[in-house]
Amino acid sequence: MDRRNLEEGFFKIIMAGSAIITVMSLIFILSTVFIKGLPALSIDMIIKTPQGGYYIGREGGILNAILGSLAIGTGATALALAVSLPVVFYLHIYRRKKSKFSKMVRFFLDVLWGVPSIVYGAFGFTVMIFFGLKASLIAGIFTVALLIIPIMARSIDETLRMIPFEMNESCLALGSTRWELAAKVITRQAFPGILTAALISFGRGIGDAASVLFTAGFTDYIPYSLFKPVATLPLAIFFQLGTPFPEVRQRGYASALVLTLLILAVSVVARLMSKKFVRNIIK
């Protein structure tokens, strides 16, 4: 075999190997969570709050964290959507594509995307203190919203880039205002993309521990007020895995399994729904 064939073979093996490592790591993670978590998972765990006065103790369940995470995820996604949509519409419909302003906004969003979530947590904490707010659901929602806005805005941005310019032109040629173009046409055309962006961001937000550590706090109760602390699944897992008790640690894996399944369900729903809504889309 000559040198070029060897070279070809060598790099092919590296590439295929990397692909296999990627796939295997997902399988390993999922199977670890399943194998360790499934035995401890019970109905009680999903429908009960922690019992016995002990933080995430041996009794009861993690309903507080499940509901808390859902509340923070939903609230943050709604808030982030309320900011991201206007930003992206402004860039695409009111600004020219190559304007300096648009470039600057995109650059800032990309930088924000890279900011570690603990920094968002610390920032949220500072702002919270400034407003005299304690760790609470609302503080958690705001912080997680900040964390996912760049992700959501840039994903929607990419979706809107795919829309042919002629669609804008033909809509404006009919006498639409830019706002009508955005609200009646672009939103429809981009709907599957917007939905996917929202659900990806939801998944990202619900799984983040560092941003809620100081801002949402933790509690054994299910969420009942915007101004009281809420529990979240990532923190529940963190606390459970940090205990010296093997059965509590096992419950930590069960919590991780719940969180994983939740995110899995969200991405499956995202795929199904975006299929459903492509009916009217112009390809």
């Binding site: 033909s170 809509c171 040629a173 006498g175 639409s176 009646k184 112009i282």
Partner: protein, 258 residues
Amino acid sequence: MYYRTHISVKNLNVSYGSQKVLNDISIDIPDKKITAIIGPSGCGKTTLLKSFNRLLELQEGVSIKGQVLVDGEDINDPNVEVTHLRKKMGLLFQRPQVLPMSIYENVAYGPRLHGIKDRKALDDAVSHYLKEATLWDEVKDRLHKPASRLSIGQQQRLCLARGLAVEPEVILGDEPTSALDPISAERIERKLLDLKNRYTIVLVTHILRQARRLADYIIFLYMGNLVEHGPVEDFFENPKDPKARAYISGQFIESSDA
């Protein structure tokens, strides 16, 4: 021959960045006639067409100088509502661009924007303009199906219906038949001839025979300059400019002064 003027262009200069696209164009577009803008690719035909309804200003890095008067009114005057101006002009593109909604909603889109809310009135408008665009028989049983499922020829007729439904005075066509099969193209051509008694029609085309079949008036552009314009017979039978003569006879244009 005397023509009443509908759109009047005065000393129009357009450039994209440093590249000049239209060079001091002054031309009157006759009312209720078909005017064809012809010329080789890149000569500024589409740019001229899009200057009439101010779609041009959406282009990247464009600068526009000069005047365009529609019904005697300067369209760039700050008092002119751009939506109102555009409502006066239906636009057909090279490739039909339907909106991401049902066939019915596509036609009803314009009337809804301009304030028609009554269901019955909308139904009537939709069926009327679909008939006008000779699409009704093909779609009357599936009005609420996505417009994207129509063939490209049907989509172009849907775009025509959609454009007519805003009740414009002018129909602008940017090579509206070039993406269509011959039969669909012919239907569009027939329809345009049929509509010219009621609308001022301006077509960009690179098909000389089409210009000859449809147009009453010809505008010949070359490299951003207005080279020749006149009634269709004069232009084709007796072109004055050597470039126009060469273009009509299918020769290369000697670009000595380009």
